[in-house]
Amino acid sequence: MSDVNEREIKKLPTLRGKTVVNLFFEDSTRTRISFELAAKRLSADVINFAAKGSSVSKGESLKDTAQTLEAMGADAIVLRHSSSGSAHRLAHSGWVRSAVINAGDGSHEHPTQALLDAMTIREALVDEPIGADLSGKKVLIVGDISHSRVARSNLILLKELGATVAICGPATLVPVSLSPTGGIFYSLDEAIEEFGPDAVLMLRIQSERMEASFFPTEREYARIWGMNAQRLARLQDSSILLHPGPMNRGLEIDAASADSTKSRILEQVENGVAIRMAVLFQLLSGEKGGAE
């Protein structure tokens, strides 16, 4: 799928006549555009439905909105929603027959993000990437693990692919009930020193977490858990840096790290389109059926 991106005419006819709806109850321009491009590359028709300024703010439910869009002929619904489990609910409640793709549900999961992260890590760290897994690779996830759907999906997928995963963040944002194979660290310096990661995934910090006293100030967060030039220099030469975007430059990641040669952040964006093409292809090219 990623080859299509390199072609002069970046389009395949595979999903011609299929309709994909991006149903976004939360703002996320990047994810929406990525899904939109993926669908268009496969020649599907795309409708974008953003919750703001629509009937949703007038009280129309998820059920009614999804059914309305399906009645207009949607074959797949790409759902971004602030409520954990909403994609699961839409796919299993019998409300719609369309394929349902989870584009991020509350603080639960963001599966396509994990897939594109894994793809990016594999491209960077594995010599013969096609068909290989990530066994032996060490991945460190840093930030708000508790509320992060990116962290949750990555923990599941990276474990499945054989990588060793460690998590790092303030104790208020790391659920004690998690037991990742690589351990839990409460300081980024210690994590780099003791775990020696091959890939570091920095999570975006939401400002409302600070307001809810999960940590005292942005400065303190950046000092203890932010990626900066000094910490970057202590990583192995081959190690890479990832961030799901959008970045808070100066908070969880400084400019020098974001723009460094270790950064694979733009590769993540590029791979995102390919992964989403693959997901749409898997769900829509065969028999019609609901899946997540």
């Binding site: 439910s61 998820l62 059920k63 929603h81 489990g85 699961h88 839409l90």
Partner: protein, 430 residues
Amino acid sequence: MNYVLQNALDTSGSIVEVVIESGRIAKTRSSDLKHEVIDCAGLVVLPGFVDLHTHLREPGFENSETIRSGSMSAAAGGYTAVHAMANTFPVADTAGVVEQVFRIGKEVGLVQVQPIGAVTVGIAGEQLAEVGAMHHSAARVRIFSDDGNCVHDPLLMRRALEYVKGFDGVIAQHAQDPRLTKNAQMNEGKLSSRLGLAGWPALAEESIIARDIMLTELTGSRLHVCHVSTRRSLELIREAKARGIQVTAEVTPHHLLLTEDLAESYDPIYKVNPPLRTSDDVMALREGLVEGVIDVIATDHAPHPKESKDTEWASAAFGMIGLEHAYSIAQMVLIDSGASNMQRLAEVMSTSASKISGLSGQGNYLQVGSLANLTLVDTSKSWTAEAQTNSKSSNNPYVGMDFKGSVVHTIYDGEFTLRNRMLRKAEIDV
């Protein structure tokens, strides 16, 4: 009407003949009266069930339930008295509202509807409601609760406990620290963390119970803890009782049976307040019920219209119905498990609740001269729960589950409200 119930077993397992004349239990048949003789072979006669925690939703939320539909569901479940929770609209925080609920309950005539009054105006937790006026009204309110909201202000809780002492009132507390449960969705633990649903720590319940026990000791008043859901809560209550503090506690049928694992479906039919907890908590609650730390099974029957549950988890309303499932769950937990006996079942389903509430006409069982409020059950009858019950709502988590034991007859103030599993028609159509 006069009845003779023959061949039923009493709670000790002896065959009894129950004579009911003009609504009351009689010692023997009066020869000058005509009696209808009913064969109750194979049935156990119990005191009519008394529910301390029922949401009848009227006034204000008649799309969920009415006093009439709730009374029907109660009679079908073997209840002869229910306590109507105060979180209606308007809130039952004045004599006018509680008297209206009381009066409509009487007109419907299927079950004694005893209103619970709000502790604070509008259950807003700021100013004490006119609890004295509610007590002295025709509804004779004795239990006060801001159910759904916790009286979390310690000073207000102290005042409430002190104030109701004057008429032997009880504060029924919904123990939930609001700050520790902000936006909480399910029991806090490994599962909530995996599902990404905001956790509801057990501590949020336990810390309020601990504080309330101390306030109750200080004031010498009476506390009733609503829907206890955790092992540690139970330990706190056990300890308080041992020290002679006047605290009683209830558990819901669903907290005796269901666990947090059901949230994995993201189906909000399992969304309830307090949340379903772990299987360890369920075991502890069952033990506490057998042992006597928990005094009563109270349903927290909480009807909601379909649209309130036909949503994603976070948007859905909290609550589940249970008036027609409570008996079977009580039988499962106390009798079929071998853990206890019918005397204990009668206590937790009826007599203890009527004592806590001071209902003189309820829970007297076969005492000669008392109003005949009785429930007859078939302990061997198996049945499968269906979505539709007599409740107006079907937010029913038990659909498809197999139960043993069912209510056959309910006799309220000497007349059948349920006979051979058929409901008597309500007196009024509301």
